[in-house]
Amino acid sequence: MASADSRPAGTTAATRNAADRKSNAGTTPDPWEMCAKLEYGADRSFAWAVQQQVVQTPPEGRARLEERLLKSLAQPNCTEAGRAFLCRMLAMVGSAKSVPPLAALLRDVRTTEAARYALEPIPGPEVDAALRDALGALTGPAKAGLIGSIARRRDAAARGALVAIKDNAAEPPLVRQAATRALECIGSTQA
């Protein structure tokens, strides 16, 4: 059977493999790009492939993973479902490096839920600071949810801001109640 290989005779195996890799790279979608374009209800197998890398990569490889997740998150065509997925992944492997881009999303009511989902479990004072800073940017239910995350993290440095919210008659009852409970939660940790 005649070979369909049009490459010149005499090329080495290494050369052929490199050419194959380059060729295939152009025809196979990159799951890291595709997962950012995820739509609710659509095929999510690309996201699944990314998730498997996230959960299976050993600790020494997680910084590289985080970079790739943040790169996907920064794509201008990142969808709502894609953002939610990427933030779920960052909730597992994110570090202080993720805080600046997530903090920007946290302050926007359209993206705050996904960002908070990622930030709440990430350890470190950078996250606490980002959550506190967002208190002035959010209102209503989103602010109540934010206060809940601050409480879960037992951020004692937020006590002053929470007292001010609790005592502010201009805040809606939902937000003031969230601040009251957060103070109970943070206070009980110190006792």
Partner: protein
């Protein structure tokens, strides 16, 4: 019977299957039943969640008309809550039972004593904690909570507000399961070697993709999602099927695992502790609406080295098998068998050194404790511990690796990713605090 229920004498005698025990016990009222919570005061009940789980509670709750009264039902589905209220009122011949769309309004009623939490799993913790904060006792359907963090918060709330809190693992009130746990605890099988739990398969069949649909009239989708991440509505993903979506539940791992793993915990005297390691290798769908494992396979190991396996069985219902040096025992809701019939006979023998508390009816046990303020047979601490075992299996299967668990600190040892999966941020405005 060892315990006296909260029923009136007449109800008690009518319901008892052992007449001699029935006439012997209820003639003596414990001191707790003669005080403020005397039987003359009916226990007023609210039911949150009017789906298939509450359907299994209503016949029992309606069966005590002289001592228990359902005064409110709540569901985000108007059709369901109105149908449930109508059912209760029809049974009582009154119009006293009100329908609520928001559980907080029901909890605010000072005349309600106890709340039955029958919602989808992702709501269990928030509804139960809010009820207890408002002074209600709670009966929380299984699994106790969705996550480990929620479970610990729920137990803390029960203690903080001094509430009676029963986990809806009714196997704890079925004599067959009691007898097996007690037999194993007394080394009836000799040295125990392992426990094998089988649970039914996960996930109904849906396609690789799904389409968002308009929310049905009279249905509050935003409230139904509550603390779960937002997603568009699809009819394939709410009533009953929610359990196959990991934002809301962990499928049969928690649905049936909460029952069968629970008996293992009981038999191993682990009600206040748990395993020290877990390894899981489940199979998950790579696309489609449902995200929970289609094949469950995990093992937990206890401090004494005994493993408890949990696996999917594609034919047949759930069972637990206890294997020891003298043979094995199989236990399910409807049957029990053993490698040697003598084991079953020995199990019924009196005079065992270790005797486990006995309850013959999960509802009655709860109502008794509402009146006496004692811990119920399936107190939420042990419910939390069993739900934790389910979570350990789920997390290990998701990560695909063996994990070490510290049951005292309730944290994984040396695995930061696993520890982050013990809880999750809640969608606004909801919070565990």
């Amino acid at each position: 019977m060892k315990t006296l229920s909260a029923l009136t004498r007449r109800e008690f005698i009518q319901r008892s299957s052992v007449a001699t025990a029935a006439v012997a016990a209820p003639l003596i009222l414990p001191s707790g039943l003669r005080g403020a919570g005397a039987p003359s005061k009916k226990i007023a009940v609210g039911v949150v969640g009017c789906g298939n789980i509450s359907d299994s509670h209503f016949p029992a709750l309606l069966g005590y008309p002289e001592s228990v009264r359902i005064l409110g039902v709540c569901d985000v589905d108007r059709e369901r809550r109105e149908a449930s209220a109508a059912r209760v009122n029809r049974e009582y011949g009154t119009s006293d039972c009100k329908a609520y769309a928001d559980f907080r309004e029901l909890h605010a009623r000072p005349d309600i004593d106890a709340i039955f939490v029958c919602t989808p799993d992702h709501w269990h913790a928030l509804v139960a904690i809010d009820a207890m904060r408002n002074g209600k006792d709670v009966y929380v359907e299984k699994p106790l909570t969705l996550t480990i963090a929620e479970g610990r918060a729920l137990v803390a709330a029960a203690r903080k507000y001094n509430r009676v809190a029963q986990h809806g693992t009714q196997h704890r009130s079925m004599k067959r399961f009691h007898d097996v746990a007690e037999f194993v605890r007394n080394n009836g099988l000799g040295k125990l070697e392992r426990i094998e739990c089988f649970i039914p398969p996960n996930n109904r069949h849906v396609g690789a993709t799904w389409k968002p649909e308009p929310v049905p009239a009279g249905f509050d989708w935003d409230m139904w999602l509550g603390p779960a991440p937002w997603r568009p509505f699809t009819a394939q993903g709410y009533h009953y099927n929610f359990r196959f979506i990991s934002d809301c539940a962990y499928g049969q791992v928690t649905n049936w695992g909460a029952h069968y793993l629970d008996i293992g915990q009981w038999a191993l005297d682990m009600d206040n502790s748990g395993p020290v390691a877990v390894e899981g290798h489940g199979e998950f769908p790579s696309t489609g609406l449902f995200t929970n494992a289609t094949k469950v396979d995990f093992t937990v190991w206890y401090p004494n080295g005994i493993p408890m396996h949990c696996r999917t069985r594609y034919e047949g219902g759930g069972t637990s098998r206890f294997v020891g040096e003298r043979g094995w025992l199989d236990i399910a809701r409807d049957k029990m068998s053993a490698s040697d019939p003598n084991l079953l006979r020995e199990m019924q023998a009196a005079g065992k050194k270790i005797q486990l508390p006995l309850s013959n009816n999960h509802h009655e046990n709860f109502f008794e404790c509402v009146r006496t303020r004692k811990h119920p047979i399936a107190d939420v601490e042990l419910g939390h511990r069993t739900t934790t075992v389910c979570n350990l299996g789920q997390i290990s299967m998701v990560l695909g690796r063996k994990l070490k668990w510290d049951p005292a600190r309730e944290e994984f040892v040396g695995d930061d990713v696993a520890n982050r999966l013990r809880g999750r941020a809640m969608r606004s405005p909801w919070s565990l605090t």
